[in-house]
Amino acid sequence: MGSLLENVFCKVGGKKPSKRTTGKLHNEFQPVRQSKIFFYKSILWMNQGLERHMSQIRNFSIIAHIDHGKSTLADRFIQYAGLVNERQFRDQILDSMDLERERGITIKSHTITLPYTDEAGESYALNLIDTPGHVDFSYEVSRALASCEGVLLLVDASQGVQAQTLSNLFMAMEHDLNIIPVINKIDLPSADVQMVKDQLDSELGLDPDTAILCSAKEGTGIVEILQAIVKQIPGPAENAESPLKALIFDARYDPFRGVIVSCRLFDGRVKPGDVIRFMSHGRTYRVEEVGLFRLTREPAKNLSAGEVGYIIAGVKTVSDTRIGDTITLDSNPAFEALPGFKEVRPVVFSSLYPISSEDYESLVVALEKYKLNDAALVYQKDSSAALGQGFRCGFLGLLHLEIVQERLEREYDQSFIMTVPSVQYQFTLSGDRVLTVDNPQYYPDPTTIVTSAEPFIRATIFTPERHLGAVMKLCMERRGVNARFNSPAPGRLEVIYDMPLAEVIVDFHDKLKSITQGYGSFDYELAGYREGNLVKLDFLVNGEKVDALSLIVHADRARQWAVQVCDRLKEEIPRHQFKIAIQGAIGGKIIARSTLSSFRKDVTAKCYGGDITRKRKLLEKQKKGKKRMKMVGSVQIPQGAFVAVLKADYE
């Protein structure tokens, strides 16, 4: 057995890693090759009497641009591993939330251990650490990658390399991971494998000959990928005798067990009864259970260096576990934490108000429960003259905001209004006071403002050359500056702009997709604050200021926003029995206006015996619809209007 494994490792060592990562990988995994094969505590593996063995573990992730088929490939692995039979199989097993399946994106990462036996009869445990597929969650992705030794870089055979492919690749390279390129969807009529191979070579600097061709949908190439994982990705280093160091890459809340911490052990081991310490805040917990991820959790006697698994230790909320934190033993702590830990900070803010003030208490409870499972959401009490008592919430990005909104509605049955999203602005006031404002309501007295500043991002856009004009126009409309261009391949451009975050949080991505006919892709990173003349834009409906609609915008864009929002409100607010004026104003000065005309006729001719029940049923339905509206003065404003106002075209 030993010789076979050594044989495998020789192959790993002898394999030429991808161009860009040459060298680093060799050094990193030197100890793996040199160390004697370490036999792990004898635990039943798959109930077949096989021993779980360090060198038989492979920790890997799949990284890809959105829609390139990550979840489908993961499902295929699960099927191949025989963890589910045909009858139980449903698409995107790992995307367990309805929302994830509907949107086709992974919101919460999932981890699963796949049993695999190679052609020589060797058994392996392949830990697939699934990652969320959106830029809002890039920090979570980075922690998942930090828990791996290798990744599958999945590229769609017809779409080729996209913005996220590149940012994911860079992230994987930062973690010195072994990268296996996989070209997916080769079954599509529009697939162009040679084009993608050329891109792998020219744009990513990967060896195109190492790319594996597959169709996750049809199940081709799966065995080759599994073989490559075993052969090309090194097994984890073994430092089971050092003090415990486990990296938290995910946490979820279970109402019966408390928080289930997903972690990768780098050093040491942990077992039930141990007292563990979270190194970021120093709190300690007694371990109740450790185990591995199969389709369900599978308890184990202990976890040891190199392994990926879970720890249950009576932690009450996921907010107590911080992604990227290091777990160690209280009795024998590690000298220093694993690198890369960051406090996650929200960048997009919006307020939540119950539609009916009676529902406030139930919203409080729902938010508390929701927060148990989503450490990234922050919130505090807030109140509005128009909408009453509510909460100001901070999100990682707009997708995160939409997820929270939909889950609170669906899973917690809440009806609420969400206000227009905002970023965090900085105002320097006379007397050198600096004020941070994420809520337009707290926009300072304009006479006291010395300077104002807003957060910028560095946006990276991939686009076919023919759409460059449209992309530049869009970026400039959104106040993009300092354009840079790279031409990684003939006909394709990488466009980099510095842009205000506020200009991309709402509909930038959709817009980009539409002007590039779906070929453009987008990724960004935060890039500090820049000065700008920021004003507060208010909206009046029927003469009444609706504070929840107020925006902080750049003065150059104020008129454009005002017109757009007025027009959009006109579409969103249903006709009433009377005329409604909608106005946009800065400091009392009206700069835009639209008028919603009244209903002209709303009556049916007949109402006798049989019509009454029918009419009442209709009224009941309308009443339900009205419940989802907010009365401002005598005007009903639909729930969605508050966010929808920014989703409009203004061309």
Binding site: R600, D602, V603, T604, G609, I612, T613, K615, Q622
Partner: protein, 368 residues
């Protein structure tokens, strides 16, 4: 408790008019069986309702029944139920059925109100909607009723027909008013999905009147008839002083009524129920000793409140302010309704104006 009304649905017509989707059938051969079944159904409700002070034979076309059958029907009703002395007894009639004999029979049977299905007094329009009579036949039938001694007559009209102009409609109204009816029902055409006109509209063969046009028709009708001395007392109904239709008011005021026949609806003050629409099923159920009921619901206080609002805003009676649920914005809403001319407040009631009638379906929602 208010007095109750009795409605009998006569599910037969000689031919179908193109605007109609009421339940009726043109095969009159089922009439004897239907008559027998109705008698059985009537016996199910014996003594369940207080004496009726209104009786309404509608349809369908009640006058499509032969004199003999109509007589039998009325005698059955008189035998099975108790009626008040001052009974309002309405029969819906088609002008082409109103021969002198038939009119005399109606009088003999105790009918004291006839609602004549005139629909239009323009021959082109009448043939477009497939009525079996022309304008002068309708006028003659009306005169026949008068001469026979009927003191309360109503005219049914329909407007905003495809191709109709405000001018031709006002001509019809003029001619109708010259007949001096005590009551008029003027219905704006509703394109019922399953009616022949509705199907034609879906297929784009005819064009529905626009909203602004419908408003013009509605407002012109109201002001013309009010000037002629009629009270616009419900969205589609007009009457001279003291000539409001007692039976129909029961629907709008929430009084009890019993409906017999296929597709008929009933209300006993707390529950609503309705019969199967199919005449065959109606006959079968009753012959098997069962009930022809297709459904029933007991009204919750909330449902009754909703009905009160939706019916109240359709009549000049309006809605009592004290019955409106208190909401913080109530004052603002009432003020706005008055300001925008949709309602007036009089004697503690919110009363819709003519403009308010045009929004009758939207007003209840303001108070929910």
């Amino acid at each position: 408790m208010n007095n109750s009304g009795l409605y009998v649905h006569i599910p037969f017509c000689r031919s179908r008019c193109t605007y109609c989707d009421f339940y009726s059938q043109t095969d009159l051969s089922l009439a004897p069986e239907w008559l027998a079944a109705m008698k059985v159904e009537a016996s199910l409700y014996k003594d369940r309702f207080a004496p009726f002070d209104s009786l309404y034979l509608g349809g369908g076309t009640p006058t499509a029944l032969t004199k003999c059958r109509l007589k039998k029907l009325v005698h059955t009703l008189y035998r099975e139920f108790c009626f008040k002395e001052d009974l309002e007894f309405t029969v819906e009639a088609n002008p082409d059925d109103l021969s002198q004999d038939y009119v005399a029979l109606l009088k003999d049977l105790g009918v004291n109100r006839v609602s004549v299905g005139v629909q239009s007094l323009d021959d082109n329009e009448l043939s477009f909607i497939r009525r079996r009579h022309n304008a002068s036949q309708a006028e003659k039938a009306f005169e026949r009723l008068r001469k026979t001694g009927f003191q309360t007559l109503s005219v049914d009209l329909i407007y905003a027909l495809p191709g109709q102009t405000l001018n031709t409609w006002l001509k019809t109204l003029h001619r109708a008013v010259r007949l001096h009816p005590e009551h008029l029902s003027c219905y704006q055409l509703t394109l019922e999905k399953h009616s022949p006109l509705g199907i034609m509209a879906t297929r784009g063969k005819i064009k529905k009147a626009g909203i602004e046009e419908e408003r013009r028709f509605f407002l012109a009708t109201s002001s013309f008839l009010e000037e002629e001395g009629y009270l616009h007392y419900e969205v589609s109904n007009f009457a001279l002083h003291g000539q409001l239709c007692r039976h129909n008011l029961k629907y709008w005021e929430g009084s009890p009524y019993l409906g017999l026949g296929p597709a008929a609806h009933s209300f006993d003050g707390t529950a609503r129920w309705w019969n199967t629409r199919s005449i065959k099923r109606y006959l079968r159920r009753l012959s098997e000793g069962g009930s022809p009921r297709a459904g029933k619901e007991t009204l919750s206080p909330e449902a009754r409140y909703m009905e009160h609002l939706l019916l109240g805003f359709r009549t000049r009676l309006g809605v009592e302010i004290d019955r409106i649920k208190h909401a913080p914005e109530l004052e603002a809403i009432l003020e706005r309704l008055q300001k925008s001319g949709l309602a007036i407040i009089r004697k503690g009631r919110v009363i819709p104006t003519t403009e308010g009638f045009l929004h009758a379906d939207g007003l209840p929602l303001l108070f929910l």
